[in-house]
């Protein structure tokens, strides 16, 4: 209150000569926002507009003079081009498997490192988080050899574990057939095999759940302990406590992780480029949406196609986000009420 009076005195003392306090505040504020506002115009709004316009043209960067307006041709092309259709299917397949697995693994690890009974919590949290901080090209190269079908460690581990299970089952009479199958199991050669290439990429992706895990962890720690006590008094076991207390309370962070993860899956590029090259080897199995976009725009210099692809992606992400925000009222629970 005192401050308000003080400012009143100041403004009345110097009438009209200066801007009013609120005008000055606005001016200063806009000044501080200006880097972002200028950047928004220069590096986001104008490029978006250009990209939208270019999506209706045939544009070759090397020969800008030959630019032609082709109206919806680029969009028509997308829906008939087999590469684009393949890339779309590959990305959807990738997202449908990778988003839920990585989210639930992140949640599981977060619950694990949040256990009161766990010794050395901080060490575990750091180690589970660390892979995110390893530069992407290097971590992809590590995984590429780690998963090698000839000398990769995962092959040794999988085959040794399978052999041990086989030896164990071999003791039990009547399971000879199953035992032999375990003993002769051959680990997949991930990135040289058409059916294992996408699972291989997803496996690599699981290494990078650190951010999601930390966000889940913070969400779990924010759940008031009284809620658990109340649930226990009502006779709820661990599962019902999780289902009826934990899940609703962490649904906002779940929503956030889910949204960012879907967007991340749509923007997937670096790992697959390092592993599979611009063609998405083997046999286009890993030809994700952005490889197609990169090829069209930079390898074949068809910028119009690239822009149309980018806008389709934008519309899809926008649609998915809108659906998520619309339906979020039904499954996301904000403890603080509406915001």
């Amino acid at each position: 209150m005192a401050i308000v009076q003080e400012t009143d005195v100041l403004t009345t003392a110097a009438p009209k000569r200066r801007l009013s306090m609120t005008q000055r505040e606005t001016a200063w504020g806009l000044l501080f926002l200006s880097p972002w506002l200028i950047g928004l115009a220069m590096f986001t709004a104008v490029p978006m507009l250009i990209s939208f316009l270019l999506s209706f043209t045939e544009f070759d960067l090397m020969h800008p003079g030959t630019t032609k307006f082709v109206f919806l041709d680029n969009y028509a092309w997308m829906f008939s081009d087999p590469n684009t259709i393949t890339s779309f299917i590959v990305t959807v397949k990738f997202a449908v498997i990778s988003v839920p697995t990585s989210i639930f693994l992140a949640l599981g690890v977060a619950i694990l490192v949040n256990q009161k009974l766990l010794a050395g919590k901080r060490v575990f949290r750091t180690l589970f988080f660390m892979p995110v901080q390893i530069p992407l090209v290097a971590s992809t190269i590590i995984w590429l050899d780690f998963l090698s079908g000839q000398t990769g460690w995962l092959k040794f581990i999988m085959e040794d574990v399978s052999g041990a299970i086989g030896n164990f089952l071999g003791i039990i009479p009547g399971l000879g057939g199953v035992a032999t199958e375990f003993k002769t199991f051959l680990a997949p050669d991930w990135f040289n095999s058409t059916e294992w290439a996408i699972p291989g990429l997803i496996l690599i992706g699981l290494w990078g759940i650190g951010n999601m895990m930390l966000i889940f962890l913070a969400g779990l720690q924010a759940v008031p302990t009284e809620l658990y006590e109340a649930a226990r008094v009502d006779g709820a076991g661990p599962w019902r406590q999780f289902r009826n207390v934990t899940l609703p309370m962490i649904s906002p962070v779940f929503f956030y992780n889910l949204l960012l993860n879907i967007i991340g899956a749509a923007q997937y590029f670096t790992q697959v480029y390092v592993i599979a090259g611009p063609l998405g080897n083997p046999d286009h199995q890993t030809f994700v949406y952005n490889l197609n976009l990169y090829d069209e725009a930079w390898t074949y210099n068809r910028m119009g196609h690239g822009c149309a692809l980018a806008w389709l992606m934008f519309v899809i992400i926008l649609g998915v986000s809108l659906i998520m925000f619309r339906t979020s009222a039904r499954w996301v629970f904000y403890a603080g009420g509406e915001r």
Binding site: G29, I134, A138, I142, T151, Q267
Partner: protein, 363 residues
């Protein structure tokens, strides 16, 4: 009744502690096993980069850096000396293979210690070599000598891009976050929503036109497209700093304002000195982003290898030498490239982890 409850109470007290210890052990064991899976790829990198390149293609080598035992054998007839691999021959022990014949023909072996020759009918393809622990730095020298352009240039380029970009990202984010946190501007909440919305904007939509613009003003190939846009504030950084600024008490600002300090003074002498944890987090985030960035340098610098940062150089190194089977050299190169980021991470891990939480949860 009472005479029995007292000892039982004591007994259950002790068994409850034992049970708690058991639970702690089993939870820790589960976490440890899962954690081992997470760390395995890194252990693989370490092991592979210290393993002698001669043995990298042998499938069932041990997981630690090792080399097969060999012996120099002089053929008594020809006098030619050759290096032979020593195998563990079942029923005979350590023997070096001199002359290989297809089973059931007899192959010739020599005892590496006594030089005595032996004819044994054995399937030589099923024999396992004898391994000894052996570490070598050859892969690192090979990687350093082979990678193109050299590591010195790659690191220098990465540092220039990362440090200039970080300066821009941090300064602009501080200004913008201060604007959002402390000034009542008409339409501020709408602008803030736009800011958050740009996080969800797929980068593809602006990638091509940005490239066209930068190309047309002659910035391709150069580092400018990788640095200049960061001087205009990034949504993540602004969000993180704004959340932090909002937690600072306003009383100090107001006191400074009463003393006639300008908003600029308040920022530099009140807000920034209180915000070092968040500012350091943003600094590290951007530095890591720049170190990591791949698609940007790929389209803006691939035309000129003298401009390559480490991400592009390492990818090129991998693409060129993978076909030649130089696994251990490639792993050594990867190890060199991650040393600094991993070291920074371990020194500043708490800052990172708190930063992730601030930008993720407090939305």
């Amino acid at each position: 009744m009472t005479s029995t409850t007292v000892p039982t109470g004591l007994y259950t007290h002790r068994s409850r502690r034992a049970r708690k210890l058991g639970a702690t052990l089993s939870v820790t064991a589960i976490a440890g096993a899962l954690c081992l899976l997470f760390v395995l790829p890194l252990l693989y990198m370490l092991s592979a980069s210290f393993t002698d390149p001669k043995v990298t293609s042998i499938p069932d080598k041990p997981l630690y850096p090792a080399i097969t035992e060999t012996v120099n054998y002089r053929d008594p007839n020809t006098g030619i000396e050759t290096e032979l691999t020593v195998y563990d021959v079942p029923g005979y022990g350590r023997l070096a293979l001199v002359d290989q014949k297809f089973y059931p023909l007899e192959s010739t072996f020599v005892n590496p210690d006594t030089g005595e020759l032996k004819q044994i009918a054995v399937d030589t393809f099923s024999l396992r070599p004898i391994w000894h622990f052996h570490m070598t730095l050859d892969n690192f020298t090979a990687a350093i000598n082979t990678i193109n352009p050299d590591f010195g240039l790659l690191f220098r380029n990465t540092f220039i891009i990362a440090i200039t970009g970080t300066i821009g990202a941090v300064l602009s984010a501080i200004l913008v976050a201060y604007g959002f946190a402390r000034f009542r501007i008409p339409g501020r909440d709408g602008l803030f929503l736009v800011l958050i919305g740009t996080i969800m904007l797929p980068f593809q939509v602006i990638l091509i036109p940005q490239f066209i613009i930068f190309q047309s003003i002659g910035w391709v190939p150069s580092w400018l497209p990788l640095i200049v846009p960061h001087f205009f504030a990034n949504a993540y950084n602004v969000f993180l700093l704004r959340q932090y600024f909002l937690t600072l008490p306003r009383e100090l600002d107001e006191a400074a304002m009463m003393d006639g300090a300008s908003p600029w003074r308040i920022l530099t002498s009140v807000i920034i000195p209180q915000s070092w944890p968040a500012i350091i987090a943003v600094t590290l985030f951007h530095f890591f982003f720049a170190w990591n960035d791949f698609l940007g340098p790929l389209i803006y610098t691939s035309g000129n290898e003298q401009l390559w940062p480490i991400a592009i150089g390492l990818n090129n190194f991998n693409t060129v030498y993978r076909g030649a089977g130089a696994t251990s050299m490639i792993q050594a190169g990867a190890l060199i490239s991650v040393l600094l980021p991993v070291a920074i991470f371990f020194v500043a891990q708490r800052v990172f982890m708190r930063g992730v939480v601030i930008s993720g949860v407090e939305k």
